[in-house]
Symmetry: C2
Subunit: 487 residues, 2 copies
C-alpha cells in the first residue's frame, strides 16, 4: 500500500472482491465505520482520491463517489483544491459501555405496581390453569383448510376498516345469533385482539379514570387489573348461588356508571346469573343510565345445562356492551376477540383502534372467516363439549369421596370448576402443599379485590389431558384429606 | 292437542322430529321464548307434565326435565303438588324499539375531537397516498410458502411471551443488523401490531400525559395524533434541508423529556438527518436525560443514496427507542411492527401488552419468521427498490419541465416525495383543483401542528401503478402550470 496512507488504515480499508457487496459499498462502509469509531479523527485529512484509488487498486471514480457520499452524509468536508477532511463538527459521543441504568431516566415514571412476572413452571408440573383449553382437539386438516383462503391470494396493500372486514363481522353476527340468540348485524360488532383488548378499549373510550366500576367479588382478576390500569375505582359487588346480587347494587347518585359481569359462568365461581337477576340488572342499568359490560368468555362450552339468554340478547335499551373471545373455543395464541355494543360506543372504539394501530391483521380475519362460515368452529365446539364433559365427569368422580370436605361447583359450563372447601380448611395452605408435589391449583383468594370470605380452589381442567387430570385430582384429594385430618 | 292447553300455545309448542335438535331442546327453547316474549305471562300456571307430554306426543320425562331446567334458570316456579308457574318476579323490560340515543348516556364522555372519517374515494380516483406500497410485487408462490410453517402444525394452547417468540425476535435482530447496522439481540426487541402501536405503548409507559414531546414541524401527523390522544403537549421543532434543527431544541429545564424524529426520511419532507446532527441530537439527549423516539418507518426503501446509520446504531447511552414497521416493506394489512429500546422500557411495554391483550398472534409471528429467515423479505425489498426507482424516475421526468415552479425533493428513500412549490403558488388550491379532476394529492399543510410556512405537496407514489402515476403526475403538472399562469 502506498506510503501516503497511514499504516493503521491499511488493514481497515482492505476491500474484498467478493460477490454481493460492491467495492464502492465496501469502501463507504469502512470509511464511515472508521469515522464513527474514531479511528479517523475530526479534522484529519484523507488521502487524495487518486492516491487512495491506486493504493487500493480500484477505479478512482469509486473513491470520488464515496467521498461525495460521505460529504453529503456529513462525515467529510470537501475543500476545493485542498482535499477531503473528517468533519470538524463531528462530535462523537464517548464510546463507553452502556451504563447499567442504576438511576431511572427522567422519562421513565415509577413502575405503577410490582411487575407481574410469569411463574416459572417446571415442565412436569400438573397445572390446573383456569381458562386453559386444548386446541389439539382441532384436526390438523381443518387447521390447514382454515388457511387456504389466506394463502391463495395476496393481502391488500391497504388496511380498510379498523372494525374488521364487513363480511367477517357478518359471519360473526350469524354465529352469535346461532350460539347465543343475539340478534345483531355486522355494524354492531368490532373485532379485537382478545376479550381483554375489548375491555381495555371500552375502558378507554368511556374514560373510566376515577369512575366507579361495579365488579363481581370474587371476580375475573385479569379484567379487574385492566380496569385498574385504566384508573377505574373498583366497587366490589357480592355474589351468591344465583350470581351477582343485584340488590347490592348502589342506587341513586351512588350507582356506578359501569358494571362488569360474567353472567354465563361466573368467573371464578362458575354459577350462572339467574334469569330474574338478569332482568333486574338490565332494569337497574336502564334506570341509572349505566352500562353493563357482559363478559361472555366461555359460554360456548356448556354441558347438559341449556344456555340462559345473554344480557345482550334481552337488552332492549342498549345498556349492554358484550365481550367475547376465541381464546377458549380455539386458543389465546390466535389473539381474536370481539365486542358487540351500542353503535355510539363502537364508533369511538373504531377510532381508538385506528389511533393505537392495533387492528386485527388481514390473514387472521380471513382465517376466522373460514372457521366461522364453514362450520369448523361449531363442530370443534361440539367436540370440545364431549371432551370436556368427560374430564368434568372424571374430576367429579375422583373428588366424590371427599364431598363432605370439598364440593365441586360451577360445572355446567366452561373450562374450570370451583372446589368449595369446608370452612375449616385452608385453601392457601392446600395450594402450597400441592405445589410442592408439582400440582398447581389456584386459591379463590387470588380473585378477590378485598378480603376473601370463602375457602376454595379454582380448578382449570380444560388444558389437562386425562392422565394429568387423574394424577392431579387424586393428589389434590389426598392433600385435602390430610389437611382435614390435621396432618 | 288436548283442551288443557290454551289454543294460542298450540302453534307455539309444536315440535319437529327433525335431526340435530332434540325434542327436549326444542321444548325448552320454545317455552323460554314464550316467557321472554310475554306470551306466557308471570303467574300463569303451566299444564301438568303429563298433560303437556300427551298433548305433544312425547315422553313425560322430557317435559319433567324441561320444567326442571326452566325452574333452575328462574323462569318457572315449581310448587310441590300444585304445578309449574311462570315466575312472578320475572319483570321483563318493556319490549320497545331501541331508542335512537338522542341524548348521550352518562357513561359516554364527550367525543375528544371531531371523529376523523375516512374519505370516501371514488374507485377511479388516482390517489397519491403517502406511505402506500404495493404488496403485489411479492410473488404469490412466496406468499404461499410464507404460510407453510403456520399450516403444518396446530398453534399452541397457551400464549407464551407477550414480547413475541424469542426465535422470531432473534431473526428480527439479525435483520436489523443487516439492514440498519443495529447491533441488538432478541431481548432488545418487542413485536407490536404496527409502528403506531409501538409509539402508543411507548407513550403509555413513559406516561406522556402533560409532558412536552419535541416533534418535527411539519411532521408525521398520525404519530402526532397518537401522542396527542395520550395527552402529550406537542413542542413543534423546525426542520431545514439537513432535517431537524438540533440548535432549536430547548435546553436546561426547558428540554422536553421526549423527542420524536424520522431521521432516515423525514416525514413528510423526505430529507435525511445529517450525521453531525445525529451526533448532536444524541449528545443533547444524553445531557438532558431525554429519550429520542426514532421512527424508521421506511428506511429499507432507499435508492442510490447509502443509508446513514440509525440513531439506535450509534447510541451509546440508551437514549433511543427505535420504532419500525413492515407496513411499508410488506403491507399494513399484516399489522406487524416492532420496537427496540432500553430494556427497562421494554419490561414495561411487555407488561402493557399483557394488560391490554394486544400481543401479536402466533400465526402472524410464524409467517414473519419465515419471511425473515428465508430471505423473502430482503429479496422483496430489492424488487421494491428497482420498482420504486422506476416510478421515482418517471415522476421526476414528468415534473422536470416545471422545475422552476415545483421542485421534487426527498427522493433518496421511501415511498413518497415532497414537491416544493414556488412561494407564490397555493398548495391547497392546487389540491382542490386536482381533486375535482380525480387526482388526490396532500398539501404539506396537513402535516403541520402550527401555522404552515411552506407551499408544497406530498406525493405518495408507492401505491400507484405506472399508468396511474403518469396520468396523475401529468394532470398535476398541468394544474401547476395553469395556477402559475393565473388561470
Amino acid at each position: 500500500m502506498s506510503s501516503d496512507i497511514p499504516d493503521h488504515l491499511e488493514l481497515l480499508l482492505r476491500l474484498e472482491r467478493r460477490a454481493g457487496v460492491s467495492l464502492e459499498r465496501q469502501l463507504l462502509e469502512k470509511l464511515r465505520g472508521a469515522i464513527l469509531q474514531g479511528t479517523m479523527q475530526a479534522g484529519w485529512r484523507l488521502p487524495s482520491t487518486r492516491t487512495l484509488a491506486s493504493a487500493l487498486g480500484i477505479s478512482r471514480n469509486i473513491v470520488v463517489a464515496v467521498y461525495d457520499e460521505l460529504s453529503v452524509e456529513g462525515y467529510l468536508i470537501l475543500r476545493h483544491g485542498s482535499g477531503a477532511y473528517v468533519n470538524d463538527d463531528f462530535s462523537l459521543p464517548a464510546q463507553v459501555a452502556p451504563p447499567a441504568l442504576a438511576r431511572m431516566p427522567r422519562w421513565l415514571p415509577p413502575a405503577p405496581s410490582p411487575l407481574l412476572n410469569p411463574v416459572d413452571l417446571e415442565p412436569d408440573m400438573i397445572v390446573f390453569q383456569p381458562g386453559a383449553s386444548l386446541i389439539s382437539l382441532l384436526p390438523l386438516s381443518v387447521w390447514r383448510s382454515t388457511w387456504q383462503r389466506v394463502t391463495t391470494e395476496l393481502p391488500p396493500s391497504f388496511y380498510h376498516r379498523a372494525a374488521g372486514d364487513p363480511e367477517l363481522r357478518c359471519a360473526l353476527a350469524i354465529y352469535l345469533s346461532r350460539s347465543r340468540g343475539i340478534r345483531c348485524t355486522a355494524d354492531d360488532l368490532i373485532l379485537t385482539a382478545s376479550a381483554r383488548h375489548a375491555l381495555q378499549l371500552l375502558a378507554e373510550v368511556t374514560q373510566v379514570r376515577d369512575k366507579a366500576v361495579g365488579f363481581e367479588e370474587p371476580g375475573y382478576r385479569q379484567a379487574r387489573d385492566t380496569l385498574l390500569a385504566e384508573g377505574a375505582h373498583i366497587l366490589p359487588l357480592p355474589i351468591d348461588d344465583d350470581g351477582l346480587r343485584i340488590d347490592a347494587l348502589p342506587t341513586g347518585i351512588h350507582a356506578p356508571p359501569l358494571v362488569y359481569v360474567t353472567p354465563s359462568h361466573q368467573y371464578p365461581l362458575g354459577m350462572r346469573l339467574a334469569i330474574t337477576r338478569r332482568m333486574d340488572l338490565l332494569a337497574w342499568a336502564q334506570a341509572h343510565d349505566s352500562l353493563v359490560i357482559e363478559d361472555d368468555y366461555d359460554s360456548e362450552i356448556r354441558f347438559d345445562a341449556a344456555p340462559l339468554p345473554a344480557l345482550a340478547a334481552i337488552d332492549a335499551h342498549r345498556s349492554v356492551a358484550y365481550i367475547g373471545t376465541f381464546s377458549k373455543t380455539l386458543t389465546p395464541a390466535l389473539r381474536l376477540g370481539y365486542i358487540l355494543a351500542p353503535r355510539v360506543l363502537l364508533e369511538r372504539i373504531e377510532q381508538r383502534l385506528l389511533q393505537t394501530g392495533s387492528q386485527i391483521s388481514w390473514p387472521m380475519q380471513r382465517a376466522l372467516y373460514t372457521l366461522l362460515i364453514e362450520g369448523h368452529l361449531e363442530r370443534h365446539i361440539r367436540r370440545m363439549r364431549r371432551h370436556y364433559a368427560e374430564k368434568r365427569a372424571l374430576l367429579s368422580q375422583i373428588l366424590a369421596p371427599i364431598a363432605h370436605l370439598a364440593r365441586l361447583r360451577g360445572l355446567e359450563a366452561g373450562l374450570h370448576a370451583y372446589l368449595e372447601l369446608r370452612a375449616d380448611l385452608n385453601a392457601r395452605a392446600l395450594a402450597t402443599t400441592t405445589w410442592k408435589r408439582k400440582v398447581m391449583v389456584v386459591p379463590v383468594d387470588f380473585f378477590y379485590y378485598g378480603v376473601p370470605d370463602r375457602q376454595g380452589l379454582i380448578l382449570g381442567y380444560g388444558g389437562l389431558d386425562h392422565n394429568a387430570l387423574i394424577a392431579g385430582a387424586t393428589l389434590l384429594r389426598e392433600a385435602i384429606e390430610q389437611q382435614a385430618q390435621g396432618r
